[in-house]
Symmetry: C2
Subunit: 403 residues, 2 copies
């Protein structure tokens, strides 16, 4: 039996030929290493004869960030492959197909999405994705509703909670999203030009109290099987197609965390456009497009979620008038709060986003970062006043006009 | 290796001598069967020579209620024994000592509490328990706080959540507490004299919506390792001592569920005293004693919980000003709601309480049942207005004065 060892290009080719029937015997495979290998090794294998290609993703037993390295469970590869299979069943076509999983090597072989672009980059280039709001709204509604206690027998849901218990990956989120950014921790890093704003956040007890409540929800609210890391770097797009990838952080948590991740990352893109789009008219035009996209995502999500509630609910209390309205309002409030947390951590914390990092002028970048921090704080602090999606987007419009 | 089989008296004696060293070889054991055996077989073994006694509790692979019988996991015996050991570590002296656990036989051998009285019966006899509020307040504060994300590293807490995942026992609560009583289900049973009031409840969408929210909290809010069935039949008392028994329903759930169980059951006793205490002065006197007890329980709980938060919190966000106040307010709101649910289910649902069932005159019993339903509904519907424990007790006082 094979023991765990990191694959190299040749090893990847040998594995694919020996342990899978994905390619014919006479295949002429070429292998290309993709990505930075900080958490995972990713290889693209292509058969030169047929043109068929696949992705092999192998988890590494540690994570690396800025020189530091810490051990990290290989079990996340199991969780990721099982989550992808689960999502593909619930939302066919919206995640890459899984072809093969190897527990010992922590290896998943899946559909190649090389003709797709990481969404974050497309947004920086002001690309438009006419089907994205509907796709991601559907993905959110179906994956969240169908794994919840409203749709599943409570005993099945409890088994899933155990299957997807993901303590080590959750700990990364608990620390990096909800803790370090709110203290003067060595793990933080930020643009020195925004130091004053960051220090104000560290002193803002009201904000920190609201973040503590949101963290508590992340720790205790086992509402649905969430993706857990649904930023625009975990979404690959073409004009026609959307694929959600990398559910390594999957666990049973609050629905609003996933929706907030999408909203927060679209708003991080929003905040970055002063750096990417010098022309004011063009910039405002695209920023307005992003806000409309957020509105459409929630609208699609809500519509589909209500249909599922109507048709698929197994929970007997679901028929009670007003229950779905209350439920969605709580999800929206959470989404606002988590969107805010996601924005703040990407400015102050350890892991930043390419949208802003790719702005080379520190002053221009600081403008975007300050805007992101203003929006993020507002979404956390005022989330209980958010009664519809426009209460989020109008707050952003207002902040920009005031700025 | 032994296979599971139900013990009888002789089998219990043989087991104790053969598989434990609880008694000397020359012990003269006598065995007495205790309880109704609906869910568990319970034996008391006494050594006539030394007077030493123990309790042997064996789970049966089914539950029986009113003739019906359904299969029930033996794993609950593991959960119960592990919970008792955990509680004894956290709250020494407040639970029976576990001496021995046998997985195959689903058998727990523990401290004999025959000199203690089931609290429910003591309350019907208007006994007073000067240390009870402090004991149970400590039990609640310590077991709930010390198993929460505030006290435990998040990864440890997640492991405990899996260890104590208890789907089958939870399902009983989900159905019998939060579902059947709110529909005209065959599982319900109630005094025909209160049929009008019960039908009003079935039509009360506002109440049912609030119960749906509380049920959702029971299903999704993995806040602390709760007892899960902390009524006054799970508490054994003497004037000096308090022991919490039978944690078969233990799982990670909302703290307020345990506190609400205690409050709700004291209020069920309150509502039963027209049937037990004909003398008005005496009755009002004891009822006031019960309300004061509820106030003292919360006060003790809160004091101890705040001290633990101050001294034992591992969660870094715990230091944020106002967090503990907010946290406790949520727990109190939940406690009010769950107290109400617990009261209502004991009047309308399948399983009733001896406090009221022992009133033979149906009219007199109906008076108590209606009072319990009024109090229960108020505690559910007005829980968000509950800002301190007196907001609960004053509502009860008010209802009685109006009645």
């Amino acid at each position: 039996m094979l023991r765990y060892h990191p694959l190299d290009e040749q090893g990847a080719i040998t594995y694919a030929l020996k342990f899978t029937d994905l390619f014919p015997e006479n295949a002429q495979l070429i292998c290309r290493k993709v990505g930075d290998g900080n958490l995972n090794l990713v290889f693209q294998l292509t058969d030169k004869r047929s043109g068929k290609s696949i992705i092999m993703k192998q988890a590494r037993p540690f994570a690396r960030a800025i020189g530091e390295s810490w051990p990290l469970t290989l079990d996340r590869a199991r969780i990721e492959s099982q989550a992808l299979i689960n999502h593909d069943r619930i939302c066919p076509g919206l995640v890459p197909k899984v072809y093969h999983y190897d527990r010992v090597l922590a290896l998943t072989i899946m559909e190649d999405l090389s003709n797709h672009l990481i969404m974050r980059k497309g947004l920086a280039a002001r690309k438009r994705y006419p089907h994205f709001a509907s796709h991601i709204g559907t993905f959110l509604a179906r994956t969240l509703f169908m794994t919840s206690d409203i749709a599943l027998p409570a005993q099945t849901k409890k088994k899933r909670t155990v299957q997807f218990m993901n303590p080590e990956m959750c700990k990364i989120s608990e620390d990096l999203i909800f803790t370090y950014p709110y203290f003067d921790s060595g793990e933080n890093q930020f643009n020195p030009l925004i130091a004053d704003t960051v220090e104000e956040i560290w002193m803002n007890n009201q904000l920190k109290l609201e973040v503590a409540k949101l963290k508590d929800g992340f720790l205790t609210h086992a509402q649905a099987l969430i993706h857990g890391d649904l930023h625009t770097g975990s979404i690959m797009v073409t004009e026609e197609d959307t694929k959600v990838i990398d559910p390594e952080f999957t666990f049973y948590g609050p629905m609003g965390f996933d929706i907030g991740a999408v909203i927060g990352n679209l708003l991080l893109s929003f905040a970055s456009h002063e750096g990417h789009t010098p022309d004011l008219g063009e910039r405002m035009n695209y920023q307005e497009y992003l806000l409309t996209m957020i509105e459409q995502i929630w609208t699609c999500f809500e519509k589909e979620f209500r249909q599922l509630w109507e048709k698929e609910a197994k929970e007997r209390m679901a028929v009670i008038p007003g229950y779905v309205d209350h439920y969605l309002l709580q999800v929206l409030e959470d989404a606002s709060g988590y969107a805010g947390c996601k924005m703040i951590r990407r400015i102050i914390g350890l892991a930043h986003v390419w949208d802003l990092e790719s702005i080379s002028d520190p002053k221009l970048r600081a403008n975007g970062e300050k805007l992101a921090l203003s929006v993020g704080q507002k979404l956390v602090l005022e989330r209980r006043q958010v009664k519809e999606i426009y209460d989020i987007t109008s707050r952003v419009r207002q902040l920009v006009e005031l700025g």
